[in-house]
């Protein structure tokens, strides 16, 4: 393998179907305390050129979703109990491991939360970027080095030519995340999964990195899945938001719509819990209670024990993820009333 091949999509799938589609995914962890249901029937769809933000508190299954899509879930203890992940119409979960490996980094790529630990400490960064070209395209050392300098320039690393031989610990946090991004997008993937890409960075750098991601996404017409718990980050860059709770999607909507008119009590609670600079209230509104234990899921809607609007129906039956209006779905029995703001909380919840 010495002749460099042009980067071609190694995949000839159905182009009519969405870029990435997760259908009724179930992921469990077998632990000593029992079976933890990390993901219970997750459905999300990502189209080319679209930014989907998966929003949720810790333990809601965001990162497990990302790992399952990438195929880097630790199994055991993890176990995919059901569902499909379709990339251009073809199920990744039933694909041959070798074929799937060749999609990783080439068609579907990922960046991690903490770039310092996600970069190999003993190899120069340029080498690590060049590795992408060498492993996947069989490019020779010299050419790969040139390409990695170009990638470093593209993600905005100053003096890339001099710094190509530097090691990860010689870069600042923001620069390291840029290098991670350079590695992930080196081969022009169709789908980029960013698992809390800015959580480890300080606020000013967060904005730069998010802007960079957005620019690259637009340039390459990538589908971007942004996993975060930060409502502020989401508002800036996402096109579509999926709100996750206890391993399920609670609500999916256009970013403007969801901030203006949430159709799920959990989303409403999340938005109310954001501190406001013009806030009149003395105390921050938090959602009362704690997320459910994954080994002991409540019956019906997983949010009903914490929900101010819950009725007997909520504890008996799990609501489906159904549309309220076009392009806006919610998994709540009272989605329309919440959406229109006409539903009143229960009395004991008000107290």
């Amino acid at each position: 393998m010495t002749t460099p091949r042009t980067p071609e999509p190694s995949f000839t799938g159905d182009t009519a179907s969405p870029l990435l589609e997760v259908v009724d995914l179930h992921v469990e962890f077998h632990t000593k305390a029992g079976v933890a249901q990390a993901i219970n029937g997750l459905n999300v769809t990502l189209n080319a050129g679209e930014t989907l933000a998966i929003l949720g508190e810790s333990g809601s299954g965001k990162s497990v979703t990302a790992q399952t899509i990438m195929g880097i879930l630790d199994m055991p203890p993890g176990h995919i109990a059901g569902g499909e992940i379709r990339y251009r119409g073809e199920d990744l979960l039933t694909m041959k491991p070798e074929k799937r490996r060749k999609l990783r980094g080439v068609s579907i790529s990922m960046i991690f939360q903490d770039a310092l630990s996600a970069l190999n400490p003993v190899l120069p960064v340029g080498w690590q970027i060049a590795e992408m070209f060498r492993v996947h395209q069989g490019m020779n050392r010299k050419l790969a080095r040139q390409k990695s300098i170009a990638m470093m320039q593209r993600v905005g690393i100053p003096a890339a030519e001099e710094r190509v031989g530097d090691f990860p610990h010689q870069f600042s946090g923001g620069m390291r995340q840029r290098i991670m991004i350079a590695m992930a997008i080196a081969l022009d993937p169709d789908v980029l999964i960013a698992d809390e890409p800015t959580t480890a960075l300080d606020v000013t750098v967060q904005a730069q990195v998010m802007r960079l991601l957005k620019e690259l996404q637009v340039e390459n017409n990538m589908g971007l899945i942004l996993i975060t718990h930060d409502l502020g980050v989401v508002a800036d860059v996402a096109d579509k938001i999926a709100v996750m709770y206890a391993g399920q999607v609670m609500e999916v909507s256009d970013v403007y719509e969801i901030y203006a008119q949430p159709a799920h009590p959990y989303t409403e609670g999340l938005l109310n819990s954001v501190p406001r600079i013009d806030g009149q209230d003395e105390r921050l509104n938090a959602i009362s209670g704690l997320p459910p234990s994954l080994t002991d899921m409540p019956s019906g809607c997983p949010f009903h024990p914490r929900c101010p609007y819950a009725t007997d129906l909520c504890s008996a039956e799990r609501p489906g993820l159904l549309p309220v209006v076009a392009e806006h779905t919610s998994a709540c029995h009272y989605r329309e009333e919440i959406y229109n703001g006409t539903r009143q909380p229960r009395e004991e919840a008000q107290a």
């Binding site: 630990s117 400490p121 003993v122 590795e131 730069q208 802007r211």
Partner: protein, 308 residues
Amino acid sequence: MTELNKAHTVAAGEPPPAPKKAKAQEEASLWMDAWRSLRRNPWFVVSAVLLVVLVTMALFPQLFTDNDPRACPLSRSRQEPSAEHWFGTDIQGCDYYARVIYGAANSMAVGVIVSLSVFVIGVALGLVAAFFGGWVDAVLMRLTDLVFAIPYLLGALVFLAVQSERSVWDVSLILIVFTWPTFARLMRGSVLAVINNDYITAARALGAGPLTIMRRHILPNSLGPVVGYAAVFTGIVIGAEATLTFLGVGLQLPAISWGLQLDEAKSYLQQLPHLLTFPLIFVALTVFAFTSMGEALRDALDPKSKKR
């Protein structure tokens, strides 16, 4: 590029000559870092000098003495150290200084052969066990338990005692057979500490195959402690060779080794203490040199070490 990026470029572009110069002098890789910290470590310097001398002694004993260690006129038997014979002479009348110098070769050979082989075996098996886990790991680890259960000294005594001819290779082989599990265990632990790091997951997520991950990401990050211990272990093996030979199951005459000299000296401990003292000093110095070299290496190669 966004405006902020441009600002960065300008800021970093201003003082290019100074950092460039510094960079030429200071490489920042793990190995270069290790080298820099080693040079400042007095124990490393002392042990390195000692080792250079000892290795030269093993390879070119002629440089240290003009005397033939096998020229043994009985007329000069049992002499005390003197200006002519620095370490005296032994029972046979051989120049004892020459014998001790020439003894370095066999002791070193056993040490180096054993620790190199054990290093290679241990690294390979430890890596495979930790990387694949599951039944591969279980089988390999039970195998190490099995060998661990037999103390190497006992194993060596049993197996070497039944052999009538024992060369450097025989002694080395037995030591290898009974000591490799230490390295396999050490390497396995080291790999397990590395394998859950994000950069391994990241490499997998970006499509690297198992071989690439092992070679590029796991191996260089997990080798440090094993390299350090290999040096310490060389010293231990040299001591073990002397021990085995002293017990009469190691090397045999007419070979020249420190162990054999100690063995011979034990019968004349009271009359001729110098016969015991000189080879013992050399064994101790060699073991010390390798051990402190190993300790220094281990410190320097430990990425978490704060001593840099």
